[in-house]
Symmetry: C2
Subunit: 191 residues, 2 copies
């Protein structure tokens, strides 16, 4: 098994690209080779199996999707209130548009997790972790809204994400900002 960290991450990045563009069906070692611009057979040398490739994709995609810490810090200079929460949600939304590839690959992974117990466990643990981080961030950051509110926002944003990524014509893009504002407004209890 060859170990060249740069090349390995390059291959995994290529795999993410292929996954988003061609779907699970198009994700083959050869396709990864081609996408990464490396000779045929290279992916074979770096990953023992398709499952291992997916596992590494799963590990890398979170880093790709996760926000940079300074990015968050910048937004969080504003006073705590519903407006700030709205801003955060809109920011998530824009992030999905900006990195369609990453989020689409994530969706493909979710579907794949349906059939791969190990992948499912890993993805579940990570997603659960980030959700708990969100909850803690919200609570300790002094943002308005209880635990239930955060969970509801999480679900609605997940749904919005799915819609935008797969069938953008169903919920018109012009409405999304208004919907996000209404979501925050209604879901966070007054007080």
């Amino acid at each position: 098994m060859v170990r060249n960290p740069e090349r390995r991450t390059a291959l995994v990045d290529a795999a993410i690209e292929v996954l988003a563009r061609d779907g699970a069906r198009g994700l083959t070692f050869r396709a990864v080779d081609a996408e990464a611009g490396v000779p045929k057979g290279t992916a074979s040398n770096y990953f023992a199996s398709r499952g291992e490739l997916l596992a590494q994709v799963s590990g890398q995609i979170h880093q790709r999707i996760a926000p940079g810490p300074d990015e968050v810090a910048e937004v969080m200079t504003a006073p705590r209130g519903r407006e700030l929460v709205t801003e955060l949600m809109g920011w998530i939304n824009r992030r999905v548009s900006a990195d369609r590839t990453g989020y689409l690959a994530m969706l493909e992974l979710r579907l794949e997790a349906t059939r791969r117990p190990e992948l499912r466990e890993e993805l579940t643990a990570t997603m659960r972790g980030t959700l708990e981080d969100d909850l803690r961030f919200h609570r300790e950051g002094g943002l308005p809204g209880d635990r239930t509110a955060v969970l509801l926002m999480y679900l609605a944003m997940t749904g919005l994400m799915l819609e935008q990524l797969t069938l953008p014509g169903v919920v018109p893009a012009e409405e999304t900002d208004g919907l996000i504002a209404a979501l925050v407004d209604r879901v966070i209890p007054a007080g």
Copy 2:
């Protein structure tokens, strides 16, 4: 091109099953043949291409997912109010659990639509139609909650659906009923 309606729907049903179980990757004419218990090559005779197969799956899956009219009528005997809306949402949720296969296939179709403009258009039109039906049903049925409320519930239920289908461990099953109740309670404006 052979035309035997029964067999055709049987094949499409088999394709839905394969799509949910093995994903887009596993959806081949041969796999459909095997799943439907018909001789190899049959699917080839019934569908000119993979795209045509997917188109027919898309046409049939909506009927499979759509509720029977009497089912709705039965629930709608209750007095109009938040409780009834909660009941309806819980019913959607149970429906997803009961027909995992159908909804998983639907998810696979959404992802596939990412790469197939024709499929995307058709799916978008249908989904948009059912969403507008929902909105009309809600309005004309005298249920509480404005248009925004229905859209927000749609998004949250979509998110919940995705979570349950792909990573059921992230949002614990014990919480879902409470979340649905809270969703309805908060999203529908008082009045």
